[in-house]
């Protein structure tokens, strides 16, 4: 990485609106520090503690230490393959000192989790050519259905890049004022060059529009005619992620994140592309949708669209990654095959020891059983001219052909945050403090791994890495608050089973960048919790720590199950592949958590 003095803000672009006198001059060269160099400096710095390296880096550092080859600092530099969330958080606060010590809750350390905030980072409005609602329609439904945060992600494209990205902002600003308890981010749905779509969003601020607009104009696959699979287009996607990271480091925006959406839908997000995005800037590219939106799409015809759950109904196309099997093109228990397959693509990323998170969102465009429609006069020409459709009107009929739910109605992404703020949500996501559920399957999930050895105890929660002495004992503690309130389909979901997934961390496991197998990862324990009320507590011995590994959790209402894609030995009772034209999402509920890593230090 090099220090980038590029202006973070395009002064030339026209602003359709002007919302503050402080919109003037975002970049201040005097305060710009070479953030990238600082990051490298941190890696070289012997004071960078083990706990602030990725599991992958830690594992290599431990190996080298054990071999007596080099000092901890040298090993850290040699193993520098990514940037830890903590380092990133620090790196974008240049000029505020060089506190490398772990400070729980401080800017340099993974944020302490004080509350779990539910949200949705994939929502469309009338500024998308295939959607229809106002920002406030989506936001007030999200708030009513219990979400704490949401991201407005209208499609990237020529019209949006030209005017839509500007015009939606006042609506978002107004919704923030109307719903002061709800965090409403502006983002966009990026047509990732050579690949699928992804959420890109930034922390609110005077440059939120400018940064999104320049990003879209310079890096959107549709705007740039860069949709097809080619090395040049794949490189453009990587450059876009790196550009976003540069915007954060130069303080144009205080934070920016990217997550890949519906990654397996058309087989066009190849494993090496996903790895390339992650490695382009792990502070920006943090994960993908574990479950896509459009969860009502599989409701049977007459009652629903009669399509495939998630609109995952296609066969391989010309740009699809040839090694993906037909099974990858369907959802399994509502989840994307990359996530639902134990030992599959997501696990192959985790087994590298590099963070990669999952989310669950609505992808709300038009809502199943809604009674509104676009106004008369809506057309593609009108949309292109205005950058949006007119406000929706009452239809006087019920739309059972729509495949989406309102934000918060079915899919939830729970973020462990240090406080209820925009930056805390983004940091919690980057730190991997994430679990997701469908249909409000559970009320709360608290997962911790504790290691004890030689008089020392360490504890970590979702997204965290425990560095412990070899020979320490690791213990998993799970507390699940069983649901006691009805969900938005007016029944109280009953958790039936909790599964523990465990796999080895091998930093060299992805020498094949297109691998989507984690050969060691499997379901190692299943707990029948059917009928339980109150809080389910599970304590499980993870054994003596000899080598790096991770654990993650999954739970289900137990209504639909089949052996996993990689066989019953890996996953005896995983989610069942969804039936096209007959997939009732309310009869098939799951939760998934992010992993916790345990890494032995020499």
């Amino acid at each position: 990485m090099t220090h980038d003095h590029t202006h973070p803000h395009d002064h030339a672009h026209p602003h359709a609106h002007d919302h503050a006198p402080d919109h003037a001059h975002p970049h201040e060269h005097a305060e710009q520090t070479p953030a990238a160099a600082e990051l490298n400096g941190a890696a070289l710095d012997a004071s960078v503690p083990d706990r602030r390296l990725t599991p992958s880096e830690l594992s290599r550092r431990s190996l080298l230490r054990a071999a007596g080859l080099t000092s901890a600092a040298g090993a850290g530099a040699a193993a520098m393959v990514g940037v830890t969330p903590a380092m990133a958080a620090e790196g974008k606060r240049p000029g505020k000192g060089h506190d490398h010590g772990p400070r729980p809750g401080g800017p340099g350390a993974p944020g302490a989790v004080r509350e779990w905030l539910a949200g949705d980072h994939h929502i469309h409005t009338q500024y998308s050519s295939d959607a229809q609602y106002r920002v406030i329609d989506q936001a007030q439904h999200a708030a009513a259905y219990g979400l704490d945060w949401l991201v407005i992600t209208d499609h990237g494209g020529a019209t949006h890049a030209r005017i839509g990205v500007d015009k939606v902002n006042p609506d978002i600003v107004a919704a923030r004022a109307t719903l002061p308890d709800t965090l409403i981010f502006q983002g966009l749905e990026w047509n990732i060059p050579a690949a699928e779509h992804g959420t890109v969003f930034v922390a609110p601020g005077r440059n939120e529009v400018a940064v999104l607009k320049q990003f879209e104009n310079d890096y959107d696959g549709s705007v740039k005619g860069a949709s097809s699979s080619s090395p040049a287009n794949e490189a453009l996607a990587v450059a876009g992620i790196q550009w976003l990271g540069g915007q954060v480091r130069s303080r144009a925006v205080s934070d920016a994140l990217f997550l890949a959406n519906h990654p397996a839908r058309n087989g066009i997000d190849s494993p090496h592309e996903i790895r390339a995005w992650r490695d382009a800037d792990p502070t920006v590219a943090i994960g993908f949708e574990g479950a896509p939106g459009h969860q009502a799409a599989g409701l049977p015809a007459g009652y629903g669209p009669g399509s495939a759950r998630g609109f995952y109904g296609n066969a391989a196309g010309a740009n699809s990654f040839a090694a993906y099997p037909p099974e990858s093109y369907r959802t399994w228990g509502g989840f994307d095959w990359m996530t639902s397959t134990v030992g599959g693509l997501w696990d192959s990323l985790l087994a590298e020891g590099k963070p990669w998170s999952i989310t669950a969102n609505s992808d709300s465009h038009t809502v199943w059983a809604d009674t509104s429609r676009r106004p008369d006069g809506s057309s593609s020409a009108q949309f292109a001219a205005d950058g949006r459709y007119g406000d929706p009107v009452y239809a006087g009929s019920i739309n059972l052909g729509a495949g989406d739910f309102w934000p918060g109605y079915y899919s939830r992404t729970h973020v462990g945050a240090s406080d209820r703020s925009y930056t805390a949500v983004m940091r919690g996501m980057r730190d991997g403090r994430l679990w997701v559920d469908h249909g409000a399957l559970v009320k709360a999930v608290d997962v911790r791994v504790r290691t004890t050895g030689r008089g020392r105890t360490d504890t970590e929660t979702l997204g965290g890495t425990i560095v412990t002495r070899k020979g320490s004992r690791a213990q998993l503690t799970v507390r699940i608050d069983v649901q006691d309130r009805p969900n938005w389909s007016q029944f109280v979901p009953q958790l039936a089973r909790v599964d523990l997934v465990r796999g080895k961390v091998d930093p060299l496991s992805a020498s094949d960048r297109d691998t989507f197998r984690a050969p060691d990862t499997r379901v190692v324990e299943q707990w029948d919790v059917s009928g339980r009320t109150g809080t389910v507590e599970i304590v499980y011995d993870l054994g003596v720590v000899e080598q790096a590994f991770y654990v993650r959790l999954r739970g289900t209402d137990g209504k639909r199950s089949q052996p996993g894609y990689l066989g019953a030995a890996v996953d005896p009772a995983g989610p069942a592949i969804d039936v096209v034209g007959s997939a009732d999402p309310w009869e098939d509920l799951w939760f998934y958590t992010n992993p916790i890593w345990v890494v032995p230090a020499a």
């Binding site: 998308s128 050519s129 295939d130 499609h155 047509n191 779509h197 097809s228 699979s229 080619s230 839908r265 058309n266 049977p300 015809a301 009669g306 399509s307 495939a308 609109f311 109904g313 296609n314 066969a315 391989a316 196309g317 010309a318 740009n319 699809s320 040839a322 037909p326 099974e327 369907r330 465009h365 495949g403 089949q562 052996p563 894609y565 592949i577 039936v579 096209v580 034209g581 007959s582």
Partner: protein, 194 residues
């Protein structure tokens, strides 16, 4: 005397519906021989196609290359009669046409748009009937979907079996009322307007 005819065309088709359209146009052009097999193949990020049949008159092969080159301007065209290959057309599309021709011949991979028995099986019928009445060797269920000879599969108007390792299989999935093909006629647009 009989001749074995193989043709392959790479028009650069971007999606399945697009390449199917070219296949049907091409079959009309060559008069839909009774034993024709037409397949599509992914080559370099797009779809090319190939077709083969037995011609019982020289007139069915003479001038074929010129006819195809003229019908598909800008495409790569391969014509092979009794093993003798000729090619013409756009140089950048010739590798795709060659690849389609080779894979069609080897039945190593490919997606069948036209095949012996298609007219008989594109309806609601049993798996046993699919195998008996068409070139399909086996009907395979997606992800553990149970398929028995008595299972009913709805192929009304659309079936796209595939070749793999010389065998022709039809992949099916569970549907709202019985089995349906894995590849359905209406593919969902990748973005917008669904």
């Amino acid at each position: 005397m009989n001749h074995t005819v193989l043709i392959a065309v790479d028009t650069g088709a971007g999606d399945l519906a697009g390449v199917d359209h070219v296949v049907h146009h091409l079959l009309d052009l060559v008069g839909r021989p009774s034993d024709v097999v037409a397949s599509t193949h992914v080559v370099a990020g797009h779809h090319a196609l190939a077709a083969s049949w037995t011609a019982d008159a020289d007139s069915e092969r003479d001038g074929l290359l010129a006819t195809l080159v003229s019908a598909y301007a800008g495409s790569g065209v391969v014509v092979e009669v009794d093993g003798a290959r000729e090619e013409a057309g756009a140089a950048d599309r010739l590798p795709g046409a060659r690849e389609a021709a080779d894979r069609h011949t080897a039945r190593a991979s490919g997606r069948l748009v036209e095949f012996p028995g298609r007219g008989a099986v594109e309806r609601r019928l049993s798996v046993a009937e699919v195998v008996a009445d068409s070139c399909v060797d086996e009907v395979v269920g997606l992800a553990g979907t149970v398929v028995t000879p008595q299972s009913v599969v709805d192929l009304t108007g659309f079936a796209r079996p595939t070749w793999a390792g010389g065998r022709c299989t039809l992949l099916v999935q569970a549907g709202a009322s019985g089995l349906i093909p894995f590849e359905v006629a209406q593919q969902l647009a990748c973005c917008s307007h669904h």
